[in-house]
């Protein structure tokens, strides 16, 4: 639930706060800052060459993005994701991506349709070549296209939030490696349902796509990695 207009996004890359925010977000998602690690205002400020003020404001934003947790008078800690969180997110995403696909069937633009087809074509190509990075990138982009195509800033933003949130997990599992082909086939089916104007089918397929992605994650060791993680450990009191 945030701002819905990119043009006036306050996380603007020209302000120090915006740059700090984006840098920290990237570093958290990429794993530079590990779970439960404490982020100190002065340290980060010095590292980026800014004062504490923009760092503090960036912290407030990161907290509402769910990436850190701020404990008053104590500090800011990178949030952990539990296995249950991941499960919940995929349950929610299953429903909302379905809704998104249903809406997109009516609202998708010609350009978006074309990019979606191209995305699937390219993904097949890189799958043949074994380009894992590109495959992951295209997978992310496919979903972003779908989100943008539903013509609902609110739904788009909500889904992007959840999507970004689980990216952290995907990087630690091998899910993307083992499911590239199957995932892209499902993308193709969704795309074709949208193209054919079959909103009900598109919704159903998108629902199932999320369920499959989650099941695959579990199979590939989600439990082992995140099964015991809890936020409470951050303090080890």
């Amino acid at each position: 639930m945030t701002n819905y207009d990119k043009k006036y996004d306050a996380n603007d890359k020209y302000s120090l706060r915006g740059r700090v925010f984006q840098k920290l977000r990237e570093d958290i998602l990429s794993g530079k800052y590990k779970e439960h690690e404490e982020l100190k205002e002065v340290a980060i400020g010095e590292e980026l060459g800014v004062s504490r003020t923009p760092v503090r404001e960036a912290f407030r934003q990161l907290e509402l993005e769910g990436l850190i947790r701020i404990v008053p008078n104590k500090g800011a800690y990178v949030t952990g994701i539990t296995a249950k969180d991941v499960k919940d997110i995929y349950m929610i995403r299953s429903l909302l991506e379905g809704l998104c696909a249903r809406l997109a069937t009516e609202k998708i633009s010609k350009e978006q349709m074309e990019e979606m087809e191209e995305n699937i074509y390219l993904a097949d190509f890189h799958e043949d070549k074994g380009h894992l990075d590109q495959i992951a990138e295209l997978d992310n982009r496919f979903h972003d296209i779908l989100y943008e195509a539903c013509d609902s800033k609110l739904l788009e933003h909500t889904l992007k939030d959840f999507h970004r949130y689980v990216l952290r997990v995907r990087q630690k599992t091998l899910a993307t490696n083992t499911r590239g082909r199957a995932s892209n086939d499902e993308h193709r089916q969704i795309m074709e349902a949208i193209k054919a104007g079959d909103a009900g089918l598109a919704e159903k397929l998108a629902n199932q796509h999320m369920i499959n992605a989650y099941d695959n994650m579990v199979k590939n060791g989600l439990k082992e990695i995140y099964g015991e993680t809890t936020d409470e450990k951050a303090k080890d009191a």
Copy 2:
């Protein structure tokens, strides 16, 4: 997508920032600050007797809650809600409240079940007496109980976000006045389905409850009030 642990919520009522944040949120939701109104740091700081620093930090949080929009180097403006936003939210909520009811069927605690029953009983009582304020309060509380009962901090938080977001609109329509009895009857049906352990029915009823609430809103003049509102007017460039 924010912090999921109230105990360590940084919007803590003991910090100045937390108090400013809560005060401003309440004032926006209650309509004290109208749509597209500009919020100035110094003015608000003086009004609350604090400096700009906590006000600025509160602004960053309010923005991510979607209540204001910050335009870099210009100012903070109360966001408008379009009729389409409301429609989108109710579509999303319909699905997610259904999911929530389904999960709650398995997870609800004895205490929550009792509070839910009591809520419905009380709502009937106040309906007889025509106590509109209490009815609205109980309606909100019913949904909060449901959210808490699903045993998913993530889903709970997401739904509370959306719920709070549309509260602004409800205060301007007469929807709550004209649907009290029907709404409470639907609450009772949902409660009984949960009590009976029929997760599928609970989900279906919760889905429909949202659809009915939205339809009623539209009937009661949502379009007239919000049909033309767009965020773009904030700048009148």
